[in-house]
């Protein structure tokens, strides 16, 4: 008889990349709904464009590299990259921005480095940074919240704006461009206004973030916590990112509340929460050891704050993530866990092995 004789183990938990990616996408759905509620259909359309581009770009590259297409297309990583990148773009950005960014992310940042598992940098962030640097105008056309409700821009109208760049008769480009809360704070701090003045004077500021942005942030937070519960991601990176950002912003806020925004503001503005739970936790480009992940997260948090406060960009998430991606292998090397059985017994003459093992108590 022909018996199969593979090596043990002979069973598997059933955990699969596709399943993991699917759950991550699922965790983003509430946030997407909130976003659409506040900022219109732009995000949904962008997501569709981005995902389609991502899949096509990936298929093309796999073909050129002579790799099997089906398993890699169905693993869901390209879809997630498209989704995350679309989330980071302004909702009414032209279609070619989305296509360009996603294609760059998949082709250059992922496939050229070797495909799934081999990219040192987070592809979505690479795409975003490329767009930000190359097309600063289009990338800063953020919309004011509640625009969808106020101006009643429907689905078809959004499609028109995105694909043709022409606006419906009742809309002008000025009405659509509005600073994000972070933008506003940065610019107006430069104009020597204090933080509290900025917040009070500007209608876009809600309770602790921006109007609308807060809600999106809440749903991202909930989705992220669900992912931790489902063991798709671990708690180390999100806690480290948010913790370090909170600590440093709190420190400076205590120092001078007028010049430095509050920790809650920092946590709930921009892409902080998205980064903490969805972007920085991308396993391929992040650190892998538990202690290493904490250092990685702390680094990201610190860089976010530094770039926001003293750098020239309003939001430093993308750069912070890319910078720490570079450091990840070194962090991994220096944060290896202590292996079972390797305890320093020199000073203990072999009797007491670890702090918990005081056997006298256990009789």
């Amino acid at each position: 008889m022909n018996l199969a004789t593979p090596s043990s183990p002979h069973i598997h938990s059933g955990i699969h990349i596709t399943g993991m990616m699917a759950r991550v996408c699922l965790a983003l759905v509430p946030a997407i709904i909130a976003y659409t509620w506040f900022f219109g259909w732009g995000l949904c359309i962008n997501i569709l464009i981005a995902v389609a581009t991502a899949l096509c770009a990936e298929a093309l590259m796999l073909r050129i590299r002579r790799r099997p297409i089906a398993p890699f297309l169905t693993d869901g990583s390209a879809i997630l990259t498209g989704l995350l990148l679309a989330f980071c773009l302004p909702p009414f950005s032209p279609w070619w921005i989305t296509v360009l960014g996603t294609a760059f992310a998949i082709i250059v940042a992922k496939q050229l480095y070797g495909g799934l598992g081999y990219n040192p940098f987070n592809p979505a962030m690479v795409g975003y940074v490329m767009l930000l640097i190359s097309f600063p105008l289009e990338m800063t056309q953020w919309v004011p919240p509640n625009i969808a409700n106020q101006l009643e821009i429907g689905f078809l109208d959004t499609l028109t704006i995105i694909f043709t760049g022409s606006f419906p008769y009742f809309l002008s480009i000025d009405a659509l461009s509005m600073a994000t809360p972070l933008d506003a704070v940065k610019t107006e701090l430069g104009l020597n206004l204090t933080v509290s003045e900025i917040i009070q004077s500007n209608a876009i500021f809600g309770d602790f973030g921006g109007v609308g942005w807060e809600w999106v942030g809440n749903w991202i937070l909930l989705g992220g916590v669900w992912l931790i519960y489902k063991r798709i991601i671990t708690w180390h990176i999100p806690l480290a990112v948010m913790g370090s950002l909170f600590v440093i912003s709190f420190f400076f806020f205590m120092l001078d509340p007028d010049t430095y925004a509050s920790p809650m503001f920092h946590l709930f503005s921009g892409a902080t929460l998205l980064a903490a739970f969805f972007i920085a936790t991308d396993p391929v480009s992040a650190s892998t050891t538990p202690r290493g992940r904490i250092f990685y997260g702390i680094g990201i948090g610190l860089f976010i704050y530094i770039i926001r406060t003293w750098g020239s960009y309003p939001d430093g998430v993308a750069f912070a993530v890319l910078l720490m991606n570079m450091a990840a292998p070194t962090i991994d090397y220096y944060t290896q866990p202590r292996v079972f059985g390797y305890i320093n017994t020199d000073k203990n003459d072999g009797k007491k092995q670890s702090p918990e093992s005081d056997t006298k108590d256990n009789i």
Binding site: L3, T5, I11, H12, I15, P290, F340, N362
Partner: protein, 563 residues
């Protein structure tokens, strides 16, 4: 309440244990043939002491230990030895191993020399260990280390003797059934082991999913009044049954990386081994049978009391399996078991479970997906590893065949439990990579030893050739010297010659001077004769020959005399 500790990692597995525990354990049918491998233990293989054609009895010694770290093998039933040859066994290499093959006669006649020990307290521990060794007892949890060596503490003190009844792998229930049905015997065996080790206290560790076994053990501990024995339930996490992990959970201590549990005053044995010790010491029976679980795609999954050497296919068919539809047969559990290549392989002392997977089974084993994806560096493997290794790094370096780096990440501390493999989202066969790396490194070390020997031989050969060359040159020089005549020898010869010539001249002179007789023809010479003589003399005078001159002088003197 005893405080329990935790080890890092581990996974929760579906147990699948109830199916095989619905019936009490029965003896398996006597097989037609018994195949007894000479190596069922760690150490040197046993050496057969029977020959083909011998009739053997049940419990008779058929192979003696090959060295101190070895164990004997006994016949599991009476019959005739029909071969001592290679036979398929359960090993990933698919190689045959030397086995003693016995055709059973169905009578199950016992060997008469059964010597139980009446009161083991009366014998020194050393003798008890010998008795255990002679019974062929090895670690029955799967490793097969000769038990008598692990019952020898040397001059170290054993604080705690642990009996491992955790049985953490799914499907396996042989230890649990043993504890349910033979709790008293196990405890007696434990006491004997404690005596052999002179251990202080004992712990029997079982998982908390074994309620009936726990009750049985506690009852027997109470009945025997053994207050030095603690029966403790540990959380059901795989791989709590690993020796180092169980020791950590029960005592909080970690066995040092390159050391033994004895280094921290602990010794750990399997419950099955304790039962075998009981039978050896109290009943005088060698290790010839054990409980085995047969589970998976068989009609009646159950535990059987199986004779060592029973071919596996016999057991599968006894439990309602179909040999024609087998797709995979695993010896051991689904996480660490070996997939069998030939179902005629026998049950050995360390076989605990036969897991059957069939093409038409209703209990198929979920297996990994067909397609392996690249590693996404998710870290699930490191979270699950009970030894706190970084399986991801081990994988990268094993795959790159960088065997130095892989050892830097402590490859040889891996216990091959399979937790990392189990949770990998990319379905990478991690344990296979690690096993490949381990055997490759051993092979390389072996090659290095051979290379060192070859280098020595080569250097010696070079020296030998040098030496030969030198000696040849010496010999040549000597020969050349023997051919040429030396200067001193020649002058001596010449001197001798000269001396001989001179002596001859002297003799001639002396002779002449002594000559008084005149020649007769020198008187009355005619004038013509005289004239001729004068002419001849004149000629002689010219020649200057001393002899002639002296002769002439003599002649002249004589002529003057006469004239």
């Amino acid at each position: 309440m005893r405080r329990l500790f935790q080890f890092h990692g581990g996974v929760q597995l579906k147990e699948h244990k109830k199916e095989a525990m619905t019936q009490p354990v029965q003896a398996a049918h006597l097989p037609k043939q018994l195949v007894l491998p000479l190596q069922q233990h760690i150490g040197a293989p046993a050496e057969a002491v029977v020959a083909v054609g011998d009739k053997v009895l049940k419990g008779q010694l058929i192979a003696r230990p090959g060295s101190t770290v070895s164990a004997p093998v006994h016949a599991s039933s009476s019959g005739t030895v029909i071969a001592i040859a290679g036979h398929p066994v359960s090993h990933p290499s698919h190689l045959n191993a030397p086995c003693v093959i016995i055709d059973t006669d169905g009578e199950e006649r016992w060997h008469p020399d059964r010597h139980p020990v009446a009161d083991y307290h009366k014998l020194p521990p050393e003798k008890i260990r010998e008795h255990i060794r002679d019974a062929g007892i090895v670690g029955m949890g799967g490793a097969g280390f000769p038990a008598h060596i692990k019952l020898n503490a040397g001059n170290r003190v054993v604080d705690t003797l642990i009996l491992n009844g955790a049985e953490c792998e799914p499907y396996i229930t042989c230890d649990e059934m043993l504890l349910r049905e033979r709790a008293l015997e196990v405890i007696v065996g434990l006491r004997i082991m404690r005596y052999a080790l002179q251990a202080k206290r004992c712990i029997i560790g079982i998982e908390n999913n074994k309620a009936a076994a726990f009750r049985a053990l506690q009852e027997q501990v109470r009945n025997t009044g053994a207050d030095f024995i603690d029966v403790i339930q540990v959380p059901t996490v795989y791989p709590t049954g690993g020796e180092k992990q169980l020791i950590r959970v029960l005592t909080g201590k970690e066995v040092p990386a390159k050391g033994l549990p004895l280094d921290i005053g602990v010794v750990c044995h399997n419950v099955g081994t304790a039962y075998a010790v009981y039978r050896a010491v109290e009943l005088g029976e060698p290790l010839i049978s054990r409980y085995v679980t047969i589970a998976g795609s068989v009609a009646h999954a159950r535990n059987l009391d199986v004779l060592i050497g029973t071919p596996i296919i016999d057991l599968i068919e006894e439990c309602g399996g179909n040999r024609k539809t087998l797709s995979r047969v695993i010896l051991g559990g689904p996480m660490m078991g070996t997939a069998l290549h030939d179902v005629t392989a026998p049950v050995t002392k360390t076989t605990n479970c036969i897991l059957v997977n069939s093409t038409v089974g209703d209990v198929p084993l979920p297996s990994r997906d067909k397609h392996v994806m690249p590693c996404i560096r998710c870290g699930n493997c490191a979270v699950a590893c009970p030894v706190d290794l970084l399986p991801q790094q081990l994988y990268w370096y094993a795959r790159a065949k960088d065997f130095d780096k892989v050892q830097d990440y402590h490859l040889f501390d891996c216990i091959e439990c399979g937790c990392c493999d189990y949770v990998c989202p990319s379905q990478i066969p991690l344990v296979h990579y690690f096993r490949y790396a381990k055997t490759e490194i051993w092979a390389q070390q072996h090659e290095k030893t051979l290379a060192d020997i070859a280098r020595e031989r080569h250097q010696f050969r070079e020296q030998r050739l040098e030496r030969d060359k030198r000696e040849k040159q010496e010999r040549h020089k000597k020969k050349r010297a023997a051919l040429k005549p030396p200067g001193n020898a020649v002058s001596k010869e010449e001197e001798a010659k000269k001396a001989a010539i001179q002596a001859a001249l002297d003799r001639a002179k002396a002779k002449r001077e002594n000559q008084q007789t005149e020649p007769k023809n020198t008187q009355d010479l005619t004038p013509e004769q005289q004239q001729k003589i004068d002419e001849a003399n004149a000629r002689r005078a010219k020649s200057n020959n001393p002899l002639i001159n002296s002769a002439l002088d003599t002649q002249n003197v004589q002529q003057d005399k006469h004239s």
